[in-house]
């Protein structure tokens, strides 16, 4: 095998193999007896390293062998390749958010009672990480559950200057029991 063929073979192997490969592994896995020496492989590895000196990828030696990797400086620019399109929030999350916004301050237990299903901790975490929901206190009932409310960031993100700008979508107007308990200020619902 001539040096160029050997170099091409090593290059392709290092490119295709998911883990780094040492000179010894390359020798054992790729070559038949007498085709090329270990020294020749080392020589070609050195040449490859120099071939890739000015390129977007480089051939580096790590503990378990050689591997190709993209040049570290390019990482930030390459991030664009993996920039995922934003996903969609689940209905469960949106409903939880809606309840916190419209019924604040509210405990998790109350949200669960209304929705009839338990609210995952992940949802509460996501809403708080997003900065839309915060804990404003504790309800003085057994267990002292946290009371959740919406934040100013929520208003900003939804382009609202005040919660009263939220559409009024109370569909329970005809519900007598509820109405009896209702505060009657500023009635503007249809």
């Amino acid at each position: 095998m001539n040096p160029l063929q050997l170099k091409q073979l090593i290059e392709a192997a290092l490119f295709a193999h998911p883990q780094p490969l040492s000179a010894e592994q390359l020798y054992q896995l790729l070559l038949n007896k007498g085709e090329a020496s270990l020294t020749a492989i080392r020589q070609q590895l050195k040449e490859l390293q120099s071939d890739y000196r000015e390129r977007g990828i480089e051939l580096v030696k790590v503990a378990s062998g050689y591997r190709f990797q993209t040049r570290a400086e390019l990482g930030q620019r390459l991030a664009g390749l993996w920039q995922e399109k934003p996903a969609r929030y689940s209905n469960a999350l949106l409903e939880t958010l809606a309840l916190i916004v419209y019924r604040q301050p509210i405990t998790r237990g109350e949200i669960e009672q209304i929705r009839g299903v338990s609210v995952s901790s992940q949802i509460m975490k996501t809403l708080q990480e997003r900065g839309w929901v915060k804990v404003v206190g504790h309800k003085e009932v057994p267990g002292r559950p946290q009371l959740y409310a919406s934040t100013d960031d929520f208003l900003d993100d939804f382009n609202l200057s005040d919660l009263s700008e939220l559409p009024n979508i109370d569909t329970l107007n005809e519900d007598d029991e509820a109405t009896a308990e209702t505060a009657t200020n500023e009635r503007d619902d249809s």
């Binding site: 295709a16 930030q76 934003p86 409903e95 419209y102 206190g137 003085e140 009371l147």
Partner: protein, 271 residues
């Protein structure tokens, strides 16, 4: 490939079995191999034609039909699971044969009337497809001839997550869904307050989480006017009712103070 002419039909105990063109004989053990080898009746038919080094258009229907039927009979005798498609083809061949044997002598110049025409057309199409299959098979294939790689990179460290968009419409839709669900339930505890009251409740609670006490009057500002005062007042009432805050008055006529309701040690043990 050079060995094409002596292509074995199958292997019996390691020995290749080569068909004799005159006298069809297939050792029983070879049949399973044959069935595996042929991808269907068209394949078998094509094989029989080529075996005699004939072109499809010159297909000697009598000989081919005889050989084909012998194969199929043999397969059936051995009760190998024979696809019904092989029998369909046998019937087609028999039909063509019988039409050829009818007294009307076939004329060379009347090719359209050749009862074999339809079968020949099908065989030609099948042969073309076989060729196409071969072209595809010979292409450099991922995993077989070509290897790809995802070279190590540090780009993912730089990826920032873009949170999903939520519109006001999404939110109000979600809320009306919740309301619909609760309406379906027989009884529910959902109370209907004006949103401004609920929001004010949050504000008061938040204020109290920073300060121990808030004076009652602090919660009313002139700027908000009468409506604002009503909202604040209702919010405080609601907070008291829901046992979230306590009101206290040190002496008559002094300012009323709001504080978070002291939590009861005995109650809090449950968790």
């Amino acid at each position: 490939m050079a060995e094409q002419q002596s292509l074995p039909l199958g292997f019996v105990r390691g020995e290749p079995v080569i068909e004799k063109p005159e006298d069809l004989y297939i050792p029983p053990d070879a049949l399973e191999v044959i069935l595996d080898t042929f991808s269907g009746p068209m394949d078998l038919l094509l094989y029989l034609i080529r075996k005699q080094k004939l072109d499809i258009v010159d297909m000697p229907i009598l000989a081919i039909t005889r050989q084909y039927v012998e194969y199929v009979d043999m397969m059936q005798e051995l009760k190998l699971e024979l696809a019904a498609d092989y029998l369909v083809m046998a019937a087609i061949l028999a039909e063509i044969k019988s039409r050829l044997l009818l007294p009307k002598p076939p004329q060379e110049d009347e090719e359209e009337e050749d009862p074999r025409a339809e079968l020949i057309r099908r065989l030609q199409e099948y042969e073309a497809i076989r060729e196409g299959a071969e072209y595809i098979e010979q292409r450099p294939q991922i995993g077989r001839d070509i290897l790809l790689s995802e070279v190590d990179n540090n780009a993912r460290e730089w990826v920032t997550s873009v949170p999903p968009e939520v519109t006001l419409e999404d939110l109000t839709l979600a809320f009306s869904r919740v309301l619909q669900q609760t309406e379906l339930k027989a009884h529910h505890q959902i109370k209907r307050e004006q949103l401004s009251t609920r929001a004010r409740m949050s504000q008061v609670l938040e204020l109290l989480s920073q300060k121990k006490y808030v004076s009652f009057s602090q919660l009313f500002t002139r700027k908000e006017g009468r409506a604002g005062a009503v909202v604040s007042f209702l919010a405080i009432l609601e907070l008291v009712k829901e046992s979230m805050v306590e009101l206290s008055q040190v002496e008559p006529m002094s300012d009323i103070r709001l504080s978070l309701r002291q939590h009861n040690q005995d109650e809090s043990v449950t968790a």
